[in-house]
Symmetry: C2
Subunit: 297 residues, 2 copies
């Protein structure tokens, strides 16, 4: 299969223009987002969508989150990732197959329906996880494009995937919120270095390969700025698979938590990895997943 986005091949960083659309379907009557929301997602590579879920729905999801974080022994061992240098939980993967409530969330038409609309295809879950940044000692998450990793290590051919981060706790400017570089989804930043075997075991805690170079980051950030969307629980942050993002650490007492759902177009299913010897395991990058049928009510 042709590699449109070569990365981790040379010692020099390279930039490639994105040759495919971001929002794949224009607004039309009955669309689940406004024309302005679709235009913003297309232009900036992200969208802050407020009050998607009600307080009652969030109470249920927050209590389920507490249950999952509080009883990791009940989860598949490999899906629980700790903070670097600590045993505190940083992520739990595959939440949709370990929690019926999270499965229901992932197939909710407000999420899956919008994903399908923006990607103009049926979708399936490439990955799901619960991200938790504890108070006092939450660590930073360095800049990266998710697509760079999904392409290099998972074999995702095209930029036809997006992520939805459902805020489970308030994201303030101070508790290490997601930061994005608006418009960065239009450029593919090829990274240097080769992917070591079993890289994912370390990279889920702290990434060392697939890291963009400082010069490119500085140029992007100086030209396009950095935005840190914040919001109450129930807000959903939608972002394109190639939007450059990261987050600072968190010394405040306020933990940050979100349910992170990655939808990929069924026409964009994984091939062999483009820059790794073996694909990552199913719980990080689904190969056999069925399409999601959006449900409501």
């Amino acid at each position: 299969m042709q590699d449109h986005y070569p990365t981790r091949r040379t010692g020099e960083p390279q930039l490639f223009a994105r040759a495919e659309p971001v929002a794949r379907r224009a607004w039309q009557p009955g669309a689940p987002l406004s024309a302005e929301q679709i235009a913003q997602f297309d232009r900036d590579g992200y969208l802050v969508w407020e009050d998607v879920f009600s307080e009652a729905e969030m109470t249920v999801l927050q209590s389920e989150t507490g249950r999952l974080l509080g009883d990791p022994a009940g989860l598949k061992d490999e899906t629980v990732i700790a903070e670097p240098g600590s045993r505190e939980i940083r992520s739990i993967f595959e939440i949709h197959s370990q929690s019926p409530l999270m499965a229901r969330l992932a197939s909710d038409e407000r999420l899956a329906g919008v994903a399908g609309y923006l990607l103009d295809d049926e979708v399936y879950l490439h990955q799901s996880r619960l991200n938790y940044k504890p108070g006092f000692k939450g660590k930073e998450f360095y800049w990266h494009s998710d697509f760079e990793t999904w392409h290099a290590e998972d074999g995702m051919p095209h930029m036809r995937a997006l992520s939805m981060s459902v805020l489970l706790a308030e994201n303030t400017p101070n508790n290490g919120p997601l930061m994005v570089i608006p418009g960065s989804q239009h450029v593919f930043v090829a990274c240097v270095g080769e992917t070591p075997d079993d890289h994912y075991k370390a990279s889920l805690r702290r990434q060392e390969y697939g890291v963009p170079d400082e010069n490119t980051l500085a140029e992007l950030a100086h030209r396009q700025g950095i935005v840190a969307p914040t919001g109450r629980p129930g807000t959903v942050i939608v972002f394109d698979c190639n939007t450059m993002h990261g987050s600072n650490g968190n010394i405040t007492p306020f933990p940050r938590a979100n349910a992170f759902l990655v939808y990929n177009a069924v026409s964009n299913r994984l091939a062999a990895p483009f820059a790794a010897a073996t694909p990552r395991p199913e719980f990080i990058a689904a190969r056999g997943a069925e399409r999601v049928v959006p449900v409501s009510g």
Copy 2:
């Protein structure tokens, strides 16, 4: 000498009410700050004072900052502190005695005059330093009250000192700005543990003693909130010696730099440390410093 603020004595954290004023002089005609500014400093323990220095002044100070950071070999070795796990400079101490420009800044009446007014006394420089948080890899600075350390390790008897942070680069919500807990200056949080010998050598990079406990921090932050003042170069952030503050790390490409000047009342000169075997060296905690005569023009 009586110890009004016992700390690092027991295994349990303790809280003591502050028995002395914050702003020691009420507004009167001719005061260098407005009545509202003085009231805010008194109530919140900090004040964001915008546009104190002109662009032309900032250009000179920024270029001096670049010179100091760029040629640390020309500085007294012990005054240059690196980031934990790195050789990147985090702080340069005693800038007022190593740079005539920084000495001029420290005695500028806009700073020294205001310090003397708020403390209602003549003042001297307890400490001065250049703080630099590099882009991409600037590390966090955990919550602390400066006074707790100055009292325990330097022998500062009373809360009659304040800090002025002169912003040399823009502080945004995203590049690890100073965070304060408004009103926290009214409470002294006694810390647990004993001060090890030569503690300052490690604590200037990462503090392990004189660290407030998580429960107290959570209670303060839940009750009083967290504020991260931001500002352009030329802004001065004034804060009381006992205001609880800290900062997150900085993965953005935008470095953060400030000149940090600590003014102490001459009536509050250092005694023997209240919770350490030997006092810290002169470049961190001045004992023989002359009073600052404010200059203008």
